[in-house]
């Protein structure tokens, strides 16, 4: 009986791909795998225990060997044992899992930031230098990368199994995740939250490069405009500079250096200014009025795309002085189009 070629190929294929675990390609992966092994052992142990009990009792107390059953009420000692021991194991798993959770979702402070926009059915990555990628992400080796992600339409989920990271990409709110790749290579990027017809097509590749290669790649793929530069143009064209210009008479608060500071709002709340806050303040300004200012800012809901918002956020993030804002005011007053920023400004960051 000869194996048919299809079956043979299938077997070969199987032997080649007989992996039980994805690659460990990030600093988080070993931690996740450790917990996984523990849990697998727990499952094997538990299942074996139950199976052994069932098999041994079945063999020992079958009708042939034990024609009459001995009635037993129960045993407090035994029952307490199998309440306490599983509980203890589960609590260990709980603490372990919680620690892992915070390791995965707490980015280190030195992480570089890349923006991700999810939409039906593609991933768009935006590097601060203005490099855009679709369904692909290039990252350097050994450098913590934080992803600030948002969805334009429905829930998506950014999942990289080889890094053991995953996070929902939500419409209307930034969510973040971080990783530090430890192996050069290409890794699957999946959307794991069902998002409509082409859900299974919303996949891409993450390419991990050595820092040198990454630098080369950045230089080759630049579009010439950094996110902050795009943001600066938006800042002028949306008229943000007419209020937020840092002059004494300005109707809006000074935005220079505002990122990362603590703001006091009119309702007395203290708020840390981060990406999410900036985005929200542009779209829903009335809930985010800085103390001492009137709630006169209009909403930009529906006027800015998520990409535009990212540009603006990135611009405000990097705004250390109001010099350039006032420059745009001057140009605007002179009736010229907004200036193209000289290339060296790309190195600001």
């Amino acid at each position: 009986m000869g194996l048919s070629p299809v079956l043979w190929q299938f077997l070969v294929n199987w032997l080649h791909n007989a992996t039980l675990f994805p690659a460990e390609a990030s600093t988080i992966a070993p931690y996740t795998d450790a917990l996984y092994f523990f849990l697998v052992l727990m499952t094997i142990f538990g299942t074996t225990l139950v199976a052994v009990l069932v098999v041994v009792f079945s063999a020992r107390y079958s009708r042939q060997r034990s024609p009459v059953a001995t009635q037993i009420e129960g045993s407090t000692l035994l029952e307490t044992t199998w309440t306490i021991i599983p509980l203890a194991i589960f609590l260990v798993v709980y603490v372990w899992g919680a620690l892992l959770y915070f390791r995965i979702y707490n980015p280190p402070t030195n992480a570089m930031n890349i923006y991700i926009v999810g939409k039906q059915w593609m991933w768009k990555a935006e590097h601060p230098g203005g490099q855009h990628e679709i369904d692909a992400l290039h990252v350097p080796l050994g450098q913590p990368v934080q992803l600030t992600m948002i969805s334009q339409d429905v829930f998506h989920s950014f999942s990289v199994p080889d890094f053991r990271i995953k996070r929902e990409v939500i419409p209307g709110r930034y969510s973040t995740v971080w990783f530090e790749a430890t192996k050069v290579g290409r890794y699957h990027l999946f959307c794991s939250q069902y998002c409509g017809t082409q859900h299974s097509g919303m996949v891409g590749w993450i390419t991990v490069m050595t820092p040198e290669d990454y630098k080369t790649w950045l230089e080759q793929s630049t579009s010439g405009q950094s996110l902050a530069q795009n943001g600066e143009r938006l800042y002028a064209s949306m008229g943000c500079n007419s209020c937020h210009n840092g002059t004494a008479a300005a109707r809006g608060p000074d935005l220079a250096g505002v990122y990362g500071s603590k703001l006091t709002l009119t309702d007395g709340r203290q708020i840390l200014v981060d990406d999410a806050y900036l985005r929200d303040a542009i779209l829903n300004p009335s809930a985010h009025v800085t103390a001492g200012y009137a709630a006169i800012m209009p909403t930009y809901q529906g006027q800015l795309s998520e990409d535009g918002l990212i540009d603006l956020v990135e611009f405000i993030k990097n705004m250390q002085s109001d010099y350039r804002v006032q420059q745009t005011l001057v140009t605007a007053a002179s009736g010229e189009s907004a200036p193209t920023t000289p290339p060296q400004a790309a190195g600001e960051r």
Binding site: L283, P285, S286, A287, P298, T299, Q301
Partner: protein
């Protein structure tokens, strides 16, 4: 469903004692005693009300969340509702609940005409409530305050233009009045739907009450319906302050 909850009065309990199958037509064979049947009926009704608590609970949860998020919009939206009609309607409902309670009493002491009168009053008050509610809905419709594609926020961004003495809402917050109005319509609409169902059952009860079905010790349908009716009242007692009275002092 109410006929399934049918029970008999304990007054006839002794006649039933020697395990007869059925002396009253309402006694169903699978119950050993009429008392058992009556308690089962009322317990079933209470369990049904339990599910109603959870049903409205989901919407109250949504209300709580969005009220915290969009408080100014909720205040303005709430002030758009007529506190007069709202308060009057609350009183109407309480009165109808009172009539219903008297009706149950009348059934228990076997006063047939009082029971019928009370059920009719309850129905009329229910209709009055619904027509006032319709009036309110209609006003909202004309003002384009029904959430959806035709929703119009200009009254909230520019209250002076409508002769309303109120601070204008910033446009982003004004949009959120839609959330308030959606909750308003969803909650009062679900409440009204329950009332309509209640009125339907009343229309079925009234002729039976006139016929004297409930005046011979068999009060379970009236009693269980009263539970339902009172429950709807109680829901309204929460809807009224939460929707109509968020902030009625414009000096805020």
């Amino acid at each position: 469903m109410d006929s399934a909850l049918a029970t008999t009065d304990p007054a006839d309990l002794h006649a039933e004692q020697e395990h007869g199958h059925v002396s009253l037509p309402q006694h169903r064979h699978h119950f050993e005693t009429v008392e058992q049947q009556r308690e089962a009926g009322s317990f079933g009704m209470w369990l049904f009300l339990l599910t109603e608590i959870m049903f409205f609970g989901g919407m109250f949860l949504a209300y709580l969340l969005y009220r915290n998020w969009y408080y100014p919009a909720f205040v303005v939206g709430s002030n758009q509702l007529s506190v007069r009609i709202g308060t009057f309607n609350t009183m109407v409902l309480i009165t109808s609940g009172f009539c219903m309670a008297i009706g149950v009493w009348a059934a228990e002491v076997r006063k047939r005409s009082l029971l019928t009168a009370m059920l009719v009053t309850t129905t009329l008050l229910g209709v009055l409530f619904l027509s006032l509610k319709y009036d309110e809905y209609h006003e909202k419709y004309e003002l384009h305050h029904i959430p959806g594609n035709n929703f119009n926020v200009s009254m909230f961004t520019n209250p002076a233009g409508y002769g309303i003495k109120e601070a204008p809402l910033p446009p982003d917050m004004a949009q959120k009045t839609q959330v308030f109005f959606f909750l308003y319509f969803a909650m009062t609409g679900m409440h009204a739907l329950h009332m309509i169902i209640g009125l339907g059952i009343l229309c079925w009860l009234i002729p039976r009450a006139r016929r004297g079905d409930f005046s011979s010790g068999y009060v379970a349908p009236v009693e269980n319906f009263a539970l339902y009716w009172h429950f709807i009242d109680v829901v309204w007692l929460f809807l009224y302050p939460l929707l109509y009275l968020i902030n009625r002092h414009p000096m805020h």
